[in-house]
Every structure is written in structure tokens, then in C-alpha cells.
């Protein structure tokens, strides 16, 4: 394949020249160090220099997939960690962090719950921030008055989803795709189950799920290895050892196509369509990732965007993605368009997907995608913030430690045939679950 892909026009001499030297870039991939504490906590560490800051992220297998029937349990547990811990109330926790300029974040997705701390590396400041993090993760109090308040805020947030057609559509999509599987419900829960939660539910969830063996700790920043070891040992020292949780059951794919239309008085119809995708560490990860990059994952230059927006002006945003999760996550196509264009835009997007599965990508498109991903690889690691996200994903999903080092080679090795085969095997456009929310929610009449 010639290097000057888009450069049939010889006036672009400068760019053609640069593209020819494309493969010469040395990649600066940071070294990830990994160890397991004596109590079984997995720790991942990357030293970075140049800025006086330290990022710490603790991740637990305590996402909403572990809610059981109490949808919203994981999310409210995570959200309440900094509302009271040990002898400190929410004000004290916030003051301790903020007077040293530290920022604490918490959250829960379907697969995991996290606590993230960003602090200056100045020893006194870092010490105070870490002590606070430790207390918050180890001894949250879940007091009734805080619980009532925070639960009411969640209930209000759930109510607010009802004024956002995009949220309504996304919730409906996951429900339709996953049926009875624990990925089906939204992480924040639904009104009926959140109303039933009690502080005791949260305490039990915390006791069982926030354990050493169920955790990973990631440290990135201007801190040396010995200090990182001490930091991790100390953070985990108050948590019970616990047990690694059993793996989630696989979702069961419904084979028939389904279209769910929800009437909503909006100017646009929000459309999601998809099927089950793949799990992390799937052997077809790279063909599927690269294929989707071409199909709908690369913004303005992707095929779906080209067909829906660039050629026809039907939408501002149109895309597709795979979300690899512990068990197969969704493959999802998304767009929004004025109500009158809903069926047309959906038809075009689906046709684009069908054609892609039928024919696979062109050599040119594959080469362009590789150049984009490989040439832009350094942009995924150019800040501590991005680095800790990459490392946390490697750690939580137990990817090989050299994942980043071998990433570009694996991208380079993907062929058209790999993509065609993988898409044919995974994405059946006759089984799409399609959600439309908008004023075109009526069934079309002919």
C-alpha cells in the first residue's frame, strides 16, 4: 500500500513527504510496574516526572452489575462514600481535601466502582489527602440523614432523565438488548428499587464488595516505587481481605430484530440500534476495534458519518461503537435527526452497516485507519490523566502488562479479511434492537 493515500494530488508535496516517513516514530510507552500486596491487593504503578502531582485510583468489582435486584445499590454506595467516614462528616471530609487542593472523585459503572484522588505531590499535602481517601474507602458511615438526602438526589436525577430523549433512548436500548441480565438496568437504578434501599443495604454491599481481593490500586505520578508501595499498603490496610467475586453470567442474545418506539415531544428523534458485541480480551478485539473505527468510530471521516451527515446533512452526530465489558458489552449505532427524517436516517445508517459487513473495508480505508490509530497512539498517553485511565483499564480487565507496548503491532497486523470475518460473526444486522424516541415515534404507515 502506497504511503500517500489521500495524495493523488501532487500539489501536496509536503504532506506526502511526511507520510512517507510515517513508520519511523519511536513510541514512548511508559513502563507499568505491577505487584500484589501481602493481603492480595493488586497494585499498578507508573512513575512520571515533570509535574508535582500524584494520581491514585482504586477500582472495585462493585459496579451496578453487582446490584442484584436492588438496582441502584452500587451507585448509591459509591456516591455516599464521601458523605461521612469514621468520625468525619461530609463537611470535614471536603475541608480536609480542599484545603490541600486535592480532588476526590467517586463513581460506579456497570462493571466497576472507583475512587480517584488527584493531589499535589508535596509530602504534607499528599499525606492529608491520602489519609482522607483511606478513611472514606474503609469506614464510610452511611448515616440515615445523609442517606435520605443522597437517595432523594438520586431519585430527582432519575426523574430528570425523563426530560432527556437521549437518556430515555439509551435506557430503553440497554433494557431491550440485555433483558434479565444485570447490565440491563441503568447504573443509577430505577425509582421503584432506589426507593426501597436502606442504609443497611449499602453497609452490607460495602462490606462484601470493597475488599482487598476485589480491588486494584493504580498509582501514577511524581512518586517513587518505595513510596508507592507504602501508599498502597496503607490504603488497603483497613479493608477486609474478602473474596474475588464469581464471574458474571453471559447475556443471552435474543435473535429476533426488535423495534421499540417511544413517543416524546422533541424536535428530533433519537435513534439507537445494536446487538451484543464482545468482551474484553476477546481474541477478535483488534479486528472489531479497527473495523468499527472505519465504520463509525472515527468522527467526521467514518462511514456512518460520511453517509448520514457529510453526504446528506441528516444529523449533527452519527456514530457506532463497541463497548467491551467483562461479559459482552453492546455494539451500538447512534444518531439524532429531525423527526421527519428519522426513518430515512435510520435506513441509511443500517444500510451502511450492512454494506460494511458484506464487503468489509477497502484496502485504502484500512490503511487510513491504521495510520490514524498508530500515528495517534502517543496521544492516548500524553498526560497523567489519560495514562491512569489506560493503566486502570489494563489492571481491571487483567490485560497483559505489555498491552500498550504491543498495541500498535496488533493494529498493524489486522487484515481486511480479519475484519470481514469478525464482523460477520459478531454483528448480524437482521437481529438489531432498534430504539426510536421522538415525535416520529409513530409506526410508519404506507
Amino acid at each position: 500500500m502506497s504511503a500517500n493515500l489521500y495524495l493523488a494530488d501532487s500539489r501536496l508535496g509536503l504532506i506526502a513527504l511526511l507520510l512517507m516517513f510515517f513508520s519511523g516514530t519511536a513510541l514512548a510507552v511508559p513502563e507499568i510496574e505491577h505487584w500484589t500486596t501481602s493481603k492480595g491487593g493488586r497494585v499498578y504503578y507508573v512513575k512520571t516526572e515533570g509535574l508535582p502531582l500524584v494520581d491514585v485510583r482504586m477500582v472495585f468489582d462493585a459496579g451496578s452489575a453487582r446490584d442484584g435486584r436492588l438496582f441502584g445499590l452500587a451507585s448509591l454506595t459509591s456516591g455516599m462514600l464521601d458523605s461521612g467516614a469514621g468520625d468525619w462528616d461530609a463537611d470535614t471530609i471536603a475541608q480536609r481535601l480542599e484545603r490541600v487542593g486535592a480532588v476526590l472523585g467517586t463513581g460506579a459503572s456497570r462493571d466497576s466502582a472507583y475512587l480517584s484522588l488527584r493531589s499535589l505531590s508535596h509530602p504534607d499535602k499528599l499525606k492529608e489527602a491520602l489519609e482522607t481517601l483511606k478513611e472514606v474507602v474503609t469506614h464510610p458511615t452511611f448515616e440515615v440523614k445523609d442517606f435520605d438526602r443522597e437517595r432523594n438526589r438520586v431519585l430527582l436525577a432519575i426523574k430528570q432523565q425523563g426530560e432527556d430523549p437521549s437518556e430515555i433512548a439509551e435506557i430503553s436500548f440497554m433494557n431491550t438488548l440485555y433483558g434479565d441480565h444485570p447490565y440491563a438496568h441503568p447504573s443509577e437504578g430505577v425509582r421503584e428499587t432506589v426507593e426501597k434501599l436502606t442504609p443497611d443495604d449499602l453497609k452490607a454491599f460495602h462490606r462484601e464488595k470493597y475488599t482487598v481481593r476485589n480491588s486494584i490500586t493504580v498509582v501514577v505520578g511524581n512518586i517513587d516505587r518505595l513510596a508507592a508501595e507504602a501508599l498502597a499498603n496503607d490504603l488497603l490496610s483497613g479493608l477486609p481481605e474478602g473474596e474475588v467475586l464469581p464471574v458474571l453470567a453471559d447475556p443471552i442474545e435474543r435473535h429476533e430484530a426488535l423495534t421499540v418506539r417511544t413517543p416524546y415531544p422533541s424536535e428530533q428523534t433519537h435513534i439507537y440500534a445494536g446487538v451484543l458485541g464482545y468482551r474484553v480480551n476477546d481474541p477478535d478485539t483488534f479486528p472489531l476495534y479497527l473495523g468499527n473505527h472505519i465504520l463509525g468510530g472515527s468522527g467526521l471521516v467514518s462511514k456512518i458519518m460520511e453517509e448520514v451527515r457529510e453526504k446528506r446533512g441528516l444529523a449533527y452526530s452519527a456514530y457506532s461503537y463497541f463497548l467491551p465489558m467483562r461479559v459482552p458489552g453492546p455494539f451500538e449505532i447512534g444518531l439524532q435527526t429531525k423527526n421527519a427524517s428519522a426513518q430515512e436516517a435510520l435506513d441509511i445508517a443500517v444500510r451502511t452497516v450492512r454494506e460494511f459487513i458484506e464487503k468489509g473495508p477497502s484496502d485504502q480505508a484500512l490503511e487510513a485507519a491504521k495510520k490514524n490509530i498508530i500515528g495517534g497512539f502517543v496521544l492516548r498517553l500524553d498526560s497523567n490523566q489519560k495514562l491512569i485511565s489506560e493503566v486502570a483499564a489494563i489492571a481491571f480487565f487483567q490485560r497483559p502488562l505489555d498491552y500498550l507496548n504491543t498495541f500498535t503491532q496488533k493494529v498493524q497486523a489486522v487484515t481486511r479479511e480479519d475484519i470481514k470475518r469478525a464482523f460477520k460473526a459478531r454483528v448480524n444486522p437482521d437481529q438489531l434492537k432498534t430504539i426510536l424516541v421522538g415525535a416520529s415515534g409513530e409506526k410508519p404507515t404506507h
Binding site: 493515500l5 519511536a26 471530609i93 484545603r99 438526589r153 421499540v260 416524546y264 428530533q268 471521516v301
Partner: protein, 458 residues
């Protein structure tokens, strides 16, 4: 060295942090293009941004949204490159790119592996003066922008509220118009309008090139000169002042839209750093916003969300880096069972506290510690650093003010915070908006049994 004919200035920012403050190098080409370069050698990457001094606040009535529409058309081809090729070339070079339009600027950016910087320069220089505005591309992109408006504003109750709020809070300031433009104005834009707008504002002497990353300033200058040097400057229109008239009393509005939750927005007329007679006032307003809403220990969270439990969410904001005078805002959502009136009274009580009592030393120290720390945190992002330089430069403050920020905030006293609260956070300059949610029809989902895309006869 290719330094002849160039005026070079080099400034050092004060060294106040253990990390060492980043140095900014400033150059100007003969055609007026200003170039700012900041080195960051942590990763082999570079961010390049071109900022134009034009945005929604430069527009007049009837053509609102034209700056944003033009931003979209900047990806639609030049004499040299066909539509979409800009994006394809950047993608093939491993880059990420986009653009954004605000009240005071229109900016374009690429993030690239460092050796690709000349690719970005060649393309940006090309579209700075040689955009090809064609009817067929415009017709499609016009629809895309109308879809963007529906997505971001028309179907978002709070965005709609903000739009109506601004249109009442400002009398004559151009900040009263939305960046994306009023629906009728956007629909009425023509290709001729865009050609005129492009001709007026897109020129090297109305732009700043900002480069942050693993680069050497003189190498950047050399490449920039090669790409942008040949461009001709233009005669720029003289911008009218359009300073907002003095408000003469409280303004109120109600926004009735289909929604689930009520919402409250309040805004007090304030100077920005650019328009303040004494810049200390602007820094004091910045600190006042931090006292109310600088995190979970700040007053709104501590007192209104947790203490009195009136608000499910509450925030305060002040935009230091606006080109024109703007607003100190408070907004929030009452908890179930409380009204916006109750929340409004609580917000006013918090304002009265700021006026009646000096903020405590502890609170002041907390805000200052956060400002210092977040300054270091922001250095982790080359993109953010470029954003700050671009904003300050483009609104006319000058990029040097970015480096002054931490020290100026550190110098703010409790007396100064009290003084600005008494002077500016007063009813005479206040606008209050209530979102009054209207019922949303509850539509039950219906499931088709027909195959996807197939017709279904009812």
C-alpha cells in the same frame, strides 16, 4: 536563522511553583500573525490551535450564528483541498482535530505526534485565506447546524432556559444572543453572508497561532513562517464598543417548557477582567465564586445542599476571561417538595452573607490552595494550556495574564470580596429566571413486530 523581519519578544512568567512555570515564547510575523509557543516535553506530542478574533459577540441582529456556521464551513474545502480532505489528512497523520466557537472567538485545533506539526500548519494556512464556499456544501452543512441546534438547545429545557435568560439579562450587549444563533437567523443565513463574514475576519492579522508541546520555539517559528508567512493581511473592521447599558432594576422571567424539574438561574451584572476599572475587582469576584462554589466544602454545597437541604444541586460561576462585561451567576435545582422561590431566597441570603460578613481566613485559604493546585493539575493537559493562552490573548487581555492568575488570586483579601459583593451583587443589576416545568405527555413504548425498516400498515 530566519529571524530577519520578525519582531521577537520573549517573556518569562514569574517562578512561583516548585514545578517551574512554563515559558511562553511570543513571535509576530510581518503579516500580523501572532505566534505563542509553550514547551512541554513530557510526551512526543503537540497541540496546535488557530484562534480568530471573531465570535457570536461580533455579530449583529439578523445574522446571529454566522460565526459558528462559518466554523462548520471551514471543513468544506479550499481552492486546493476538496471538501472533507482536511479531516482525512489529519486523520491519516494520526491526528485529532476539531473547532469551537464562543462569544469572543472561533478556534481550530489539531493534536498530533510532534513531527506532524507542519501538516497542521499547511492546512490551517490554506483555509485562512483560500476557503471555497460552495452552494452545494453549504446546503448540507446548513441542515447539519440546524440539527445541532435542535440537539443542543431546542430539545434541552435548561439550554433553552439559558438562551432566554441571556436575552433578558442583557439589553444591548451582544452577549444576549446565543452562540449557535436564533433559529430564524440560522435558517436565513446565505452563502453570500458567509463569504462576507469570512472576508471580514479571516486574516493573519486577526489570528493567533498557539503551539504547546514537545517542540522548540524557533523550529515552530520557522515552520509557521513557511506556511503562514505568504498570507496577506487584511484591513480589519473597527469593532464597535456595544458596552451594556446600566441596568435599572431587577428583571424576572419565567420559562415554561415541557420538563420534569424546575430550575433557577440568577445573574448579576459584573465587570470582567478586561472591562474592570480596577482589575482587583475581577479577581475578588473570582474568589467570591470560589467561596460559594469551589467544591464540596464551599457554602452552596455545605449549607444549601447538605445543611438546609433545599437544593439537589447548586452552583455559582464567574467568567473572568470574557471580552465584555458579563454576569456573576447562581443556579440550582430545588429538592422535591421545595420551590424555586425558596431556593431563590436562600441564594439571596448567601449573597447577603457575602455583603454583611467578611469571609473567614480558612475559606480564603481553601480557595487559594485550590487555585494553586488546579493550576498544577491543568499543566497536565497541553490542550488546556493552549486553551488558556488562546482565550486570554483573543479577548484582548494578553496571554501574560495567564501567568499572573495564581499570584493575583493569592493577593485577594476578605475586605475586597466583601466590597465587590456590596458593589455588584445587588438587585439593580440582577436578573432571575424560573423554569416552570410543563407536563410531558407520558408515551408508552410500542414494539414493532415487523422487521427493521419494513413498512407497517396500521
Amino acid at each position: 536563522m530566519l529571524l530577519r523581519g520578525l519582531r521577537i519578544a520573549l517573556f518569562l512568567l514569574p517562578l512561583s511553583l516548585e514545578a517551574g512555570e512554563p515559558q511562553v515564547f511570543e513571535f509576530r510575523l510581518d503579516n500580523g500573525l501572532k505566534i505563542l509557543v509553550q514547551e512541554d516535553h513530557r510526551a512526543p506530542v503537540v497541540v496546535s490551535q488557530v484562534w480568530y478574533k471573531v465570535g457570536a459577540s461580533y455579530e449583529y441582529e439578523g445574522i446571529t450564528g454566522i460565526s459558528h456556521m462559518l466554523e462548520h464551513m471551514m471543513f468544506k474545502g479550499t481552492q486546493k483541498h476538496p471538501p472533507g480532505e482536511f479531516s482525512r489528512i489529519i486523520a491519516a497523520n494520526g491526528g485529532r482535530e476539531n473547532a469551537f466557537t464562543g462569544q469572543d472567538y472561533t478556534a481550530y485545533f489539531q493534536m498530533l505526534e510532534k513531527s506532524r506539526l507542519p501538516v497542521s500548519f499547511e492546512l490551517e494556512a490554506d483555509r485562512m485565506r483560500s476557503l471555497r464556499l460552495a452552494e452545494v456544501e453549504f446546503a448540507k452543512e446548513h441542515q447539519v447546524v440546524l440539527e445541532e441546534r435542535r440537539l443542543r438547545t431546542d430539545d434541552q429545557p435548561r439550554a433553552k432556559m439559558q438562551e432566554h435568560f441571556d436575552s433578558v439579562a442583557y439589553s444591548n450587549s451582544p452577549y444576549k444572543n446565543p452562540v449557535i444563533g436564533w433559529p430564524e437567523d440560522v435558517a436565513g443565513l446565505t452563502l453570500e453572508d458567509l463569504k462576507t463574514w469570512y472576508g471580514l475576519w479571516y486574516a493573519p492579522n486577526n489570528a493567533t497561532l498557539i503551539v504547546v508541546g514537545d517542540v522548540k520555539p524557533l523550529d515552530v517559528l520557522k515552520e509557521a513562517k513557511k506556511a503562514f508567512g505568504p498570507l496577506k493581511p487584511s484591513r480589519l473592521p473597527k469593532l464597535k464598543s456595544q458596552a451594556e447599558v446600566t441596568q435599572l432594576g431587577l428583571r424576572r422571567l419565567t420559562i415554561k417548557v415541557p420538563a420534569k424539574l424546575p430550575h433557577l438561574v440568577m445573574g448579576y451584572k459584573t465587570p470582567s477582567l478586561k472591562t474592570a476599572a480596577d482589575e482587583k475587582e475581577a479577581y475578588a469576584l473570582e474568589v467570591a465564586a470560589g467561596i460559594l462554589d469551589g467544591g464540596n466544602s464551599a457554602r452552596l454545597s455545605s449549607r444549601l445542599v447538605r445543611g438546609q437541604q433545599l437544593a439537589a444541586a447548586a452552583g455559582a460561576g464567574f467568567d473572568l476571561s470574557a471580552r465584555l462585561a458579563n454576569l456573576f451567576t447562581l443556579e440550582g435545582t430545588p429538592v422535591e417538595g421545595k420551590t424555586v422561590d425558596v431556593l431563590e431566597a436562600a441564594f439571596k441570603e448567601e449573597i447577603r452573607h457575602l455583603q454583611d460578613e467578611r469571609v473567614t481566613e480558612e475559606e480564603l485559604q481553601r480557595v487559594k490552595a485550590q487555585v494553586l493546585a488546579s493550576h498544577v493539575f491543568q499543566l497536565d493537559s497541553t490542550f488546556y494550556q493552549a486553551m488558556q493562552l488562546g482565550t486570554f490573548e483573543t479577548v484582548g487581555l494578553g496571554w501574560q495574564k495567564v501567568g499572573e492568575y495564581v499570584n493575583k488570586v493569592n493577593a485577594v483579601t476578605a475586605e475586597e470580596v466583601q466590597a465587590v459583593a456590596r458593589k455588584y451583587l445587588v438587585d439593580e443589576g440582577l436578573t432571575i429566571a424560573h423554569l416552570d416545568p410543563q407536563p410531558l405527555p407520558e408515551g408508552a413504548p410500542q414494539t414493532d413486530d415487523a422487521p427493521l425498516g419494513g413498512g407497517h400498515v396500521r
